[in-house]
């Protein structure tokens, strides 16, 4: 199983949070809204393509729309392999968290 980088993890989670409408613009907005951090479109595109090549994301073309100049959106969904990678990563994170107390001091 290939290792998963931090930004890849975030993209995978943002794709899942975006649901059926997970295309690049929406994924970036989801990332920025939930993490309160800027995410460059170039980084989003490059990471999406890398995740597709790893087999963790699948993509399909939607219908062309006039506001996009007659071009179709490319929608992304997390594949079964992607979900396994996510679960593995989250389990590893939970193991690392186990027994730690990082609650804010009163």
């Amino acid at each position: 199983m290939p290792t998963i980088a931090e930004f890849e993890l975030r993209i995978l989670l943002a794709v899942m949070q975006s649901g059926e409408a997970a295309y690049a613009v929406r994924i970036q907005q989801e990332l920025q809204a939930r993490t309160k951090r800027r995410a460059a479109m170039g980084a989003v595109y490059v990471t999406l393509e890398r995740l597709v090549r790893k087999g963790w994301l699948a993509s399909r073309l939607g219908d062309p729309s006039p506001e996009r100049g007659g071009r179709a959106k490319r929608f992304y969904t997390v594949t079964a392999r992607g979900k396994v990678a996510l679960r593995t990563e989250i389990r590893a994170m939970q193991q690392l968290w186990h027994g730690l107390d990082v609650a804010e001091d009163a």
Binding site: Y23, A24, V25, A40, M41, G42, A43, Y45, V46, E49, R50, R53, L61, S65, P66, E67, R68, G69, R71, A72, K73, R74
Partner: protein, 276 residues
């Protein structure tokens, strides 16, 4: 709502960066983002520039080399980035490298300028290789502390000027001149460079008069009031006047006796006028 098409420079740049479905995806997203930003104007341009800049940055330097077109498009970028990082890490090395490069570039530029002027660039006359300077050589001057600097660069006397064309059959033309400074009169007197030139000088150099005529052979023998004015002087001092008066101090020591103003090397259209 139908958005305006992407500007041509944007589609051109995207075509250089991406291809096929990647292009359609990014171009469509960009059109949508521009529409959200008003479709045109500075906000849409700002969105476009931000997206394109992030694309270039992340595609050029992505860790696994994905989106290869940008890598093959700008291969020096990675080297430039590496050089900058090393230079910032070792500023002394950077300064010495910059100093070495600057000195090398300056030395090369100076050498090329000299060679270009002296060797490569031809004189601004037709058939410059046929032009020869003729001097009088006086070997007995070599040991004289005052005259030794000009022992082989002596001027030609009036007698020699008349004899050389007759005796030297290999010369197609022959002319003599002498430079000096004289005062050009008028409302604003001005010290100007003038040349005393014989009739053969300008035809030998291939110069054509803009108007009027050159000196004649008779004027080489008989003193005349003819002057030959450079185009630059004609425009700046005489405002293209067809006929004008020129006050000059007569010089009788020159070999030809005619007073002339030499055309500037860059002048393509010298002028001639008769003085009254």
């Amino acid at each position: 709502m139908i958005g305006p098409p992407l500007p041509r420079w944007v589609t051109c740049l995207l075509r250089r960066l991406l291809e096929g479905e990647q292009y359609d995806e990014v171009a469509g997203d960009l059109a949508e983002r521009r529409l959200e930003a008003g479709g045109a104007g500075w906000r849409a341009t700002r969105v476009t520039v931000l997206v394109l800049a992030s694309l270039v940055r992340h595609m050029a330097f992505s860790a696994d080399g994905s989106r290869r077109p940008i890598r093959s498009l700008w291969p020096p970028l990675a080297e430039v980035r590496l050089a900058l990082r090393r230079w910032t890490a070792r500023p002394t090395l950077a300064l010495s490298a910059i100093a070495t490069l600057s000195l090398g570039l300056a030395a090369t530029t100076v050498m090329f300028s000299i060679l270009d002027t002296v060797v490569f660039r031809a004189l601004p006359w037709p058939e410059p290789e046929r032009l020869q300077n003729v001097y009088v050589v006086r070997p007995h001057w070599q040991n004289d502390p005052v005259l030794s600097t000009s022992w082989n660069r002596g001027g030609i006397s009036w007698t020699s000027f008349r004899d050389i064309p007759r005796r030297a059959t290999t010369l197609a033309g022959f002319g003599v001149w002498r430079s000096e400074r004289q005062t050009l009169g008028g409302p604003q007197a001005e010290l100007v460079h003038v040349m005393l030139a014989s009739a053969g000088v300008f035809p030998m150099l291939g110069v054509q008069p803009h108007s009027g005529r050159f000196f004649t052979r008779e004027e080489d023998v008989e003193m005349s009031d003819s002057v030959f004015v450079s185009y630059e002087t004609w425009v700046s001092r005489f405002a293209h006047a067809p006929i004008f008066s020129v006050c000059r101090s007569r010089s009788t020591s020159g070999p030809s006796g005619s007073s002339a103003c030499c055309p500037h090397a860059s002048d393509s259209a010298p002028s001639n006028a008769r003085s009254s």
